[in-house]
């Protein structure tokens, strides 16, 4: 851990202004340090005291919105979720997430990732469209079935995994850990019947085949989503599907509203709806 005497830290930041610079360059700023400071708070200090033009994305400052992914001391992480002290270094080196184009300074162009994400249909697909769009009741799903995909729902689409993936470092056609992990999240949801639809994309080059389990995505994921696990589970399903051994799951049924049940006299009516 850092010495308690530390009163200042250096920020080494990769700057790029598309209107003025031909290529990114490094700048160093010294700012006052306070114990418990996160990398994101340091960036605000740099902006306040040293360079008002510094640009980055952040919002929730509590590891929930997924905006502040950046390359911090060589590793993709969330700026708000990383304490300066845990870096065990007096210099904080910040660069934009690699494998994404740089819009400006620390702002990566995430749009291609979201386009791929969308192409893999990250939503519940069912044949009973009417029920899906205008639900009459909830779908049956046991707590055990929830566990099949719960872990993968924690993804905040920060893109840290994409920045860490060796395949995505060269191959723009590879969907990457986030979109693949999310495709598996829906494939393994018992309410969903979209395996065949997603397979149209997954069976080909954008699919999980270029993942070689280097595991970097799971190592850097700030939410413990473990996309590498999701991708391997997805591969098994697709191989079974090729061997015609994949069990077709019928999407969970709509829960039946109890008709016979009667309210007991001693239970009061619910208060009127407010929204």
């Amino acid at each position: 851990m850092t010495t308690p005497k530390l009163t200042e830290v250096s920020y080494q930041i990769r700057r790029f202004d598309p209107e003025r610079d031909a290529a990114p360059h490094w700048e160093v700023y010294r700012i006052p340090y306070a114990p418990g400071m996160t990398v994101l708070e340091g960036l605000w200090k740099v902006k306040e005291l040293r360079s008002p033009t510094l640009a980055w994305r952040s919002s929730c400052r509590m590891g929930v919105c997924g905006s502040c992914g950046m390359l911090i001391n060589g590793k993709p992480r969330l700026a708000c979720n990383t304490q300066i002290a845990e870096l065990e270094s007096e210099t904080v080196v910040v660069a934009p997430l690699p494998n994404f184009d740089i819009v400006r300074d620390l702002v990566p162009e995430l749009a291609p990732m979201f386009a791929t994400h969308q192409a893999l249909m990250p939503y519940v697909i069912r044949e009973d469209v009417e029920e899906r769009e205008h639900p009459t009741n909830e779908f049956y799903q046991s707590a055990h079935e929830l566990e099949h995909y719960l872990q993968f729902t924690y993804c905040i689409k920060c893109g840290c995994c994409m920045a860490a993936c060796p395949t995505f470092a060269t191959d723009a056609l590879y969907s990457g850990p986030m979109p693949l992990g999310q495709a598996h999240r829906y494939n393994s949801d018992t309410r969903d019947g979209g395996f065949a639809a997603r397979k149209q994309v997954l069976a080909d080059e954008p699919g999980p085949w270029r993942c070689h389990y280097a595991g970097e995505c799971s190592r850097v994921c700030p939410k413990g989503v473990d996309p590498a696990k999701a991708i391997q589970l997805m591969k098994r399903e697709l191989v079974l599907d090729y061997l015609r051994l994949h069990k077709k799951k019928c999407p969970a049924k709509v829960a039946v509203k109890p008709t016979e049940a009667k309210r007991r006299d001693n239970i009061p009516e619910a208060p009127p709806r407010t929204v």
Binding site: F16, P18, A23, P24, G74, K75, P96, L97, P98, N99, F100, D101, I102, V103, P108, E109, A111, P112, A115, T116, E147, H148, Y149, L150, Q151, F152, Y154, A164, C165, P166, F168, A169, T170, A172, S188, C211, H212, Y213, A214, G215, E216, S218, R219, C221, K223, G224, V225, D226, A228, K229, A230, Q232, L233, M234, K235, R236, E237, V239
Partner: protein, 145 residues
């Protein structure tokens, strides 16, 4: 893919070789790739050279003579090392890439335990087994023969 006007920032092949400070599986992946390429290069030549046996003893002895000598012996030894690693690590990859040995989906509770930690014993087993093969091969190549 959307068009982007931003400055390109893909890591390129450097991204394959490793970020420099990350996990063991990244290096196993890199090594698997390199050994695979080496084995393939050797194998393609090997097919042609050994096919000479169909042309009779003279051609076979000639072909074997062309690929003998200390340099080729070291080369063959390297091929054996590559084989030992690629084969054993391949078993691990086969198991893992079919979704076994990575654990079931769990609720992520900090500090996170990922599939990497779950499969780590297999990775260690792979290295140990490959090392055993390497020792056996080394004995055979340089000591007993």
């Amino acid at each position: 893919m959307l068009e982007s006007k931003g400055h390109p920032n893909r890591l390129g092949i450097w991204g394959w070789l490793g970020g420099g400070r990350w996990g063991a599986e990244r290096y196993l992946y890199t090594l698997h790739r390199l050994t695979g390429l080496g084995l393939l290069a050797y194998f393609l030549l090997h097919i042609i050279v050994t096919s000479s046996r169909a042309l009779g003893q003279a051609r076979w002895t000639q072909a074997m003579g062309a690929v003998s000598g200390p340099l080729f012996k070291v080369g063959e030894y390297l091929v054996f090392l590559a084989f030992a690693f690629h084969a054993i690590n391949g078993i691990r990859l086969g198991i893992i890439e079919l979704g076994f040995g990575v654990g079931k989906p769990i609720e992520p509770v900090y500090p996170y335990r990922t599939s990497l930690d779950v499969q780590r014993p297999i990775a260690i087993g792979v290295l140990v087994l490959a090392a055993v093969l390497v020792v056996m091969g080394t004995l055979n190549f340089w000591v007993l023969e």
